[in-house]
Every structure is written in C-alpha cells, then in structure tokens.
Symmetry: C2
Subunit: 371 residues, 2 copies
C-alpha cells in the first residue's frame, strides 16, 4: 500500500515556486463547490477585479488560465498568432526561446532579436527588426527573465512595437507583484503571468489580460486557434461579463488559493509589495558582496525577486545547492541554458521576500562555501 | 478591501466536481515544495504507479496533464492527430462533439458517427464509418458520457478500430474509478480522465495514459504538435523514466491532492469502488422509481455514477434545482445540449457515492416536487 505523502520542510528560495503562506494553503483546503455555483461565480468576479488591480488595468478580459504559466504563454500566443504571420521574438533567456518555439508550432514565423543571456532586450534592436520585417504584427518579450534574473523595459518595447503597427505580448510570470508593471499606462496589449512567484500562491494558474486591440485581433482571426482549451473566444464566454457559458471545469480550489493570495496583495498594497521586494534585494546584495561573491547581472537591470549570483571559480555549484537543501532545507536554483553551472538563482519572491530568509540564505551560503 | 472567500456548505451531486474528502483537502494544504525537489520527484513516481493501477495498465506513459479534463482531451488529440488526417469521432453527447471540434482545429478531418443523445455508441456504425473512410487512423470516443449519463462499450469500439488499422482514443473523464475500465486488457491506445469525478479530488488535473502503439504514432509525427504545453515528446522527458528535464512547473499542491485521492482508491480497492458505485446507483434508482419518476437512460447503458432522471411534464426543472441548492445545499446538474430542460443529472461519484447522499437526495427531490 502506498502511504500518504508528507513533504519535507523547505524554504523555497529558488526561481519558483516560492513559499506559500498558511493563509493561502488553508484557503485552498476549503470545501470544493461547483464551478457554476452562484457563490463561486461571485468569487470569480472578485478574482477578476483583484487581477485588474495586480496588473494595473481596466481590461475586461482579465482572468486566470486554468493551468500553469507555460499555458499562459500558450494562451497568449495561440490566440494572437495566425499561420504565416511574422512575430518578432525577443530572446535574452530561456523563456524568449520558448516563445519562439511556440510561434513556430502555431504556424507563425519567429524572427529573433537576440541579446546575450544576462542582458536586457534592446528596444533599438526591436525597432531594427520591425523595420526589416514590415509584415510583423506582434512583438513577444519577457518582462522578468526567470532564467537569468534580468528585467527588460517592456514599456519601451511596447512603444517601438506600436510605432510600427505591431502589438506586444509580454511574459510577466515572474514580474507580477514583484516589480512595477502597469499594463494600461504602458499600453501592453497582452500579458500573462504565473501564480507561484511573487503572488505566493502554488503553481497551477496563469493570470492573463488582453486589451481591446489584442481582443480585436483575436475576434478577427481567419482560422480558429488550434486550442479549444485556450480559445479566448470561448474563455470570454466563461469568464466574461454576463451569463456564464460552460466551457471547462475550473480548478476550484486553486482559484480559492489565488483569491486569497490576491486579497493579501491588496491588503499589503501593490506599491508596498514592490518596495519590499526592492529593499530585501538590496539587503541581500549587500550580504552577497560582504561574502566576497558577485552578482551576475548589472545593477540597473537586476530583478529584485530573482538574484543571479556568480559561482566563484573552483566551487562545485551543485554541491553547494545540495548542502543548502540537505543541511538547511533551503532550495535555490541552478543556472539554465547558457548560464548552467555559472550562476545560482536565488529567489526572494512574494511572502518569501523577508529579512529572515535573506539572513538565513546568507548564513547558509557562508557555511556551505566555507567547506 | 476584498474579504477572504468562504464557500457555502454544499453536497455536490451534480456532474462534477464531486465532494472532496477532508483527507484530500488537507493533503492539498501541505506546504508547497519545489517541483525538482527529490522528495517531489519520488512522489511523482508514486502518482504514476497509482494511476497505472487506476487505469489497469502497465503503460510507462501514464501521468497527469497539469490542467483539467478538457486539457486531457486536448493532450490526447493534439499529439495523435496530424493535419489532413481523418478521425472517426463517435458523438452521442456533448463531449463527443467537442472532440470533433478539436480534431478540426488541429487540421484533422472529423467523420462523425452519431447516436441520439441518451444512447450508446454503436460499434457496428463505427465499423461502417471505417469501411467508408479507409484512411482513418484514429477513432475517438467517450466511455462515460457526462452530458447524458450513458456508458458505451469502448472495448468493442477498440476491437473494431484495430480490425481496421486505426487506434482508439478514449475519454474516461467520468469513468475512471466509477465503472470497470481495463486499459491493457481492452487494448485502449490512448485514454484521458479527470480528477473531479470518481477520484474525489478537486478539478485541475487530467490523468493520461498512452500505450506503445500510440506513442509510436506520436514519435513518428511529421509536424510538431501545435501545443508546447501538451507535447507528449516533451512531457515524457519530465514525467518519464530517468532524469527529469525541466518542462513546465507542475501544480505541486494539486498533485498532493491527486496522490492522496489515489492512495484512498488503492486502500478501498478498485473493484470495491466500482461495486460501491453500482450498489448506490441501484439504491438510488429504486428510490427514484418509488417517487414515480423515470430514469432517462435504458438500464443496460446507465452510468452508475451519473444518473439522468427525466423531468416530469409540467415541472419547472430549474426551480427544482434552485430549491435543492437553496434549501438543502444540494447541487445537481441540468441537462446539456439536446437534453437541456428534459433531465436532471444526478452524480453519485467517488466518496459522494454513499447511502447518506442517496437518502438525502431522494428526500430533497420528494420535498421539492411536492410544491
């Protein structure tokens, strides 16, 4: 007979998931009700309003996709890309590369704007790509690259895209709640996020928002999107204003968790959450430098919620991670792609971005590096 | 400020979700850990083994898709259907129709085998369709049609498909755990299910199993599937044997819930679970007939876990459902599609299939129909 699973005690300081507060875990454990129950539908409306706050948008089409962040990427692109369309894809990490793969699967033609891993997307290069590909109707980029710890200026990228008649689709999986993001003010057309980073919620949902320009492109499609599950025309009937048309069965308890996590964000205040991530990051960086270690990313483009720390030469990076996990219960992340073996990725995300974790992580690193 | 959400007390006797036992809810509330944590990876292996038991298969490719049942349908078809391929789609309810829509979105050509809503799929009609469309390489059908309460003989359909050189893809969303299903013995090539029906787990995951024939078709694809999120070639790297290759972030806490629900299924025993669903169904039917009501589906093809009861003429069916919800806290389902307004769909699924619920539902129906 298989036994019930009891997870080990961990402190999640990797690239996500981040630690989930007891309030959110307990919200998730409330009894499941039906997805067409009037009480549940009222809660869905609150989730939409809370997500509008988190995204800083009035977009009516703002709701969570019923699957993790990767499905948010897929929902975004599967609705916006039609076969044969050229899409400018900004690639300065793993997730930009994934967007390009997906554009190709959808029958689109990705044109990459490449920056080295560890650097931000250059809006001038995006402009050049749009000049060279006048038929491009979409620019896809990542706000907070989880694979490198780099912040790109998606507002500037959106301005460039719009100047060339293209829409912009933004990956805000790691950004939402952790760094300033203003969907309406910055005129971002389509944005998706995740729950397991700075929202302090378990993984499993992907908040999404589309503005009117993006919705108009979806409504004017000449081919139905290949995905029934992610078709925004159908999802709007389920999540949109007015009567609910049955689509899929929403992940009820995950939505309880997201609701509670967003209530907590509203209680703290979005600006206060951004400021907390910033202050804890500065405290962490000071500690890292005091240990004689270097941050891998330039100060101006560092993500406060995901800190890439250079592995000193001669240090076995996997051994350090293993010691942190086994001796301290601390999970930190390895480098991905070009940065594999060269950095540790240390997340200070959501509720996990606090003084106790900063101190704990620095103490543990000091001990592990001492041998 | 938005307040925390507290769901109303409900007894879920609709088409799903079904009531979730406290054991499963509390398992879901255990602290989130990382999806690459050795302890989590060990739990994933147990989930796979428990799903093999539930599906009665030795297929290595047996794991849950990280999204609800509809995404299971999509994972199944998006991997098995290539552009231009003919697929015989058995349609005796809403979910067969959805499969046909999806085949079309994927560039396939659906050929429908239609049966009236409320009747089972006729294997002879499937044989005729395969004779008329010799290029068909796949038959898609629903084991337990949630929209009508009808069981089809998927074993016979699989035999017909194989005799004509086609594979069979089976929707077992409502079937798994509630009625006999033997993937290997019946030679079902690709099967997907849901968690929120007879497994007594919240919605949000879709157990899936592919045999070697189905995997060979996926490996031999000439086009990558349109979905990155659901690409089985990538998912096998994440869930398959050997090292874990990062794909998406699994919905950790939902997987805790599924693990616990499957441990409970193993403790009860699959045959015992099937028998309990059967016995409670018989008790329920006897009570319905004692109330002077009629079952809408012929006895031989009735689903024990989803009972379609005919609405008597002159009765306002929506008012009865509303009274059950408001006065008794009981959720039952309305008819879907052709059966809208004509039946109630009463679920006795998973842990909810018990004497207390049968008696409660019959009492409530008696009271609501009395005026």
């Amino acid at each position: 007979m298989t036994r019930s699973f009891t997870p080990p005690a961990r402190v999640l300081l990797g690239p996500g998931p981040s630690d989930v507060p007891a309030r959110v875990l307990l919200a998730m454990a409330r009894p499941t009700i039906g997805h067409l129950d009037p009480a549940f539908i009222a809660m869905m409306e609150e989730v939409k309003a809370l997500l509008q706050y988190a995204f800083q948008t009035r977009n009516g089409a703002t709701f969570p996709i019923s699957a993790p962040g990767s499905a948010g990427m897929e929902a975004c692109l599967a609705n916006l890309v039609e076969p044969g369309e050229v899409v400018v894809v900004c690639r300065n990490g793993v997730f930009g590369g994934r967007m390009g793969d997906l554009v190709g699967r959808l029958g689109g033609v990705p044109v990459f704007v490449d920056s080295p891993f560890g650097e931000a997307v250059d809006p001038d290069q995006v402009a050049s790509a749009l000049k060279a590909h006048k038929d491009a109707r979409l620019v896809a980029c990542v706000h907070a690259e989880t694979s490198t710890g780099v912040l790109s200026d998606v507002r500037a990228i959106a301005q460039v895209a719009h100047a060339h008649g293209a829409l912009v689709a933004v990956d805000a999986v790691t950004a939402l709640g952790g760094v300033p993001l203003a969907v309406d003010e910055w005129e971002l057309d389509a944005v998706y996020a995740g729950t397991q980073k700075c929202l302090s919620c378990p993984p499993g949902l992907a908040p999404l928002t589309f503005n009117e320009r993006a919705l108009a492109k979806v409504r004017a499609r000449s081919h139905k999107t290949a995905s029934w599950f992610l078709d925004l025309n159908l999802l709007m009937g389920y999540w949109g204003a007015g009567g609910r048309t049955y689509h899929h069965t929403a992940p009820i308890n995950m939505l309880y968790a997201l609701h509670e996590a967003l209530v907590m964000l509203e209680e703290e205040g979005l600006e206060a959450s951004w400021a907390r991530h910033r202050v804890m990051h500065e405290r962490f960086v000071a500690g890292i430098e005091a240990l004689g270690l270097d941050m891998a990313v330039a100060p101006a483009i560092r993500l406060p919620q995901l800190n890439s720390v250079s592995v000193p030469s001669g240090v076995d990076e996997a051994r350090v991670r293993r010691r942190l996990l086994e001796e301290w219960g601390i999970e930190i992340g390895a480098g991905l792609g070009e940065l594999a073996g060269r950095v540790w990725r240390i997340g200070l995300m959501g509720a996990g971005s606090n003084v106790r974790n900063v101190n704990l992580c620095l103490d543990a690193l000091r001990a592990a590096l001492a041998g």
